[in-house]
């Protein structure tokens, strides 16, 4: 499941950034990948749809959120956490 989450999140981010999956590295930030605030909100929507989870994210203050979006690996970890607690 863990690998599946990683694979799927990278796929979503790659699609949003219009990049190949191989070009999305774990260390990269969304900014590095050229994803703007609209792209971020769309990515979060796609993640919620893909995993049937609620991501605690408020676009008014993206950094002050329990959902860490500082890098691709941080997003994957946060999604894994939400998937694990999914009822």
């Amino acid at each position: 499941m863990t690998d599946n989450v990683q694979e799927k999140v990278i796929e979503i981010i790659a699609e949003q950034a219009v990049l190949e999956v191989e070009d999305v590295t774990l260390e990269a930030s969304l900014e590095d990948l050229g994803i703007d605030s609209m792209g971020l909100v769309e990515s979060i929507f796609a993640i919620e749809e893909a995993f049937d989870i609620q991501v605690p994210f408020n676009a008014n203050n993206p950094t002050d959120s329990t959902f860490d979006i500082s890098s691709v690996s941080a997003i994957i970890a946060a999604v894994q956490g939400l998937v694990a607690t999914r009822v």
């Binding site: 769309e42 979060i44 929507f45």
Partner: protein, 403 residues
């Protein structure tokens, strides 16, 4: 006061994906109304419309754009690209800040509303795509045109139901005339041919199940259409200085309110708008050779409109031509005045009067020359375009040949 000319026009509607195809269809009196191809059409009592068939947005917009552009915005951008392309204008520096975009629409992003209401009400989903609001808002089309072409001056959307486009073009005209703007991109768009959009109109019981037959004694209602038309209105001195090709001159505009009934039209309100446009244009009624009618094909509109024209023009009402092109492209609601202005420009530039097709039998209450069924060659110097909206809001625009 500045003079205002038209230096570009563009469209997509049921008659064709551009101005050339639309004019050809109007010359041939071709009908763009056909069986609706939409989800749940079998649950509709009305199953015809002026729908744009074979439309492939993927060929014109990328994935990110499609996720942000409702169908009415896509239509607007297609028409705007053609119009601005024809004008040859590029908006930089001072011209960009002195140019804007005013568009008409009634329903705005109704396809987006329909799809997402389905999703949350019918499918029981608790989450919608993040761009639902920026996609459905009525000003989305005007904003995307401003962004694509760098139009930084006065820009907004007008919503007056079936008169939206005429009111929008009237605003654009006034702004250039007063010196507030150099160039205005204007017109309108509508995309209401979705289950909810057609179902709502069905409720009023004014829709035809067969055809739109304006002025014919056999008419039995209106038929919805979809699409957009966009024009470039430009300060005449600016257009002349750059050697632009001028299609026509906008010479007058008037708007009135019936202040009477939310759906029934008033002869007095319509007549005041027609007379007002002539007065604003400072031309004698006898100069008008053609009127593009509001001509919805409903019992109420067509007889009231003919009576209003007879009142304003007196004996000359029998000499002028008046046709309703809604018989071909359907009623585009908030976009209709814009598509109909194409027929007005065609009359001035090509000397061809678009017909009222589907005409079967004279109605003594509509006893004017409605150019039945076949286009006609005629040399006209000045024309009017009528729009009379639900809510009793009337807007009439006057054009003449290029100076």
């Amino acid at each position: 006061m500045k003079r205002v000319v038209i230096t570009g026009q563009g469209t997509i509607n049921a008659l064709g994906p551009d101005v050339a195809a639309t004019k050809e269809a109007m010359r041939e009196g071709r009908c763009g109304i056909s069986s609706l191809e939409i989800r749940d059409v079998e649950r509709l009592a009305v199953q015809i419309g002026g729908q744009i068939k074979g439309y492939e947005p993927e060929a014109l917009f990328n994935r990110q754009q499609i996720s942000l552009y409702d169908r009415f915005t896509q239509f607007t951008l297609i028409a705007a690209r053609e119009a601005i392309g024809q004008s040859g204008l590029e908006f930089h520096g001072d011209l960009a800040v002195q140019s804007g975009v005013v568009l008409g629409t009634s329903g705005g992003g109704m396809q987006t509303l329909d799809e997402n209401y389905r999703s949350v009400y019918e499918d029981g989903k608790n989450r919608v795509h993040p761009f639902v609001v920026p996609k459905l808002m009525n000003n989305a089309a005007a904003s995307h045109v401003s962004m694509e072409f760098n139009l930084k001056g006065p820009s907004f959307t007008v919503a007056t139901a079936c008169a939206s486009s005429n009111h929008a073009m009237g605003q654009a005209f006034s702004m250039i005339r007063s010196g507030m703007a150099q160039v205005m991109v204007t017109g309108g768009s509508e995309s209401m041919l979705c289950f909810g959009g057609v179902k709502a109109w069905e409720g009023l019981r004014v829709m035809s199940k067969q055809a739109c037959r304006p002025f014919s004694a056999t008419r039995d209602g209106m038929v919805q259409g979809e699409g957009a038309a966009v024009f470039v209105f430009e300060d005449y001195d600016h257009a002349r200085a750059r050697g632009a090709e001028i299609l026509a001159e906008v010479i007058g505009f008037a708007m009135t309110s019936d202040a009477a009934d939310i759906v029934m039209p008033s002869k007095q309100g319509a007549a005041r708008a027609i007379a007002g446009a002539l007065q604003d244009a400072k031309i004698a009624p006898e100069k008008i050779g053609y009127i593009n009618a509001h001509g919805t094909g409903t019992a109420a509109n067509d007889k009231v409109e003919c009576a209003a024209v007879a009142d304003v023009f007196g004996h000359h009402a029998d000499d002028l031509m008046i046709s309703s092109t809604k018989s071909m492209h359907g009623h585009l609601i908030g976009g209709t005045g814009a598509v109909e202005l194409l027929a007005c420009v065609m009359a001035l530039t090509d000397g061809v009067i678009a017909p009222t097709i589907g005409y079967e039998e004279p109605d003594p209450e509509c006893a004017l020359d409605v150019v039945p069924n076949e286009a006609r060659e005629a040399n006209v110097d000045a024309v009017l375009s009528n729009a009379f909206a639900f809510g009793g809001l009337n807007a009439v625009i006057a054009l003449q040949k290029a100076p």
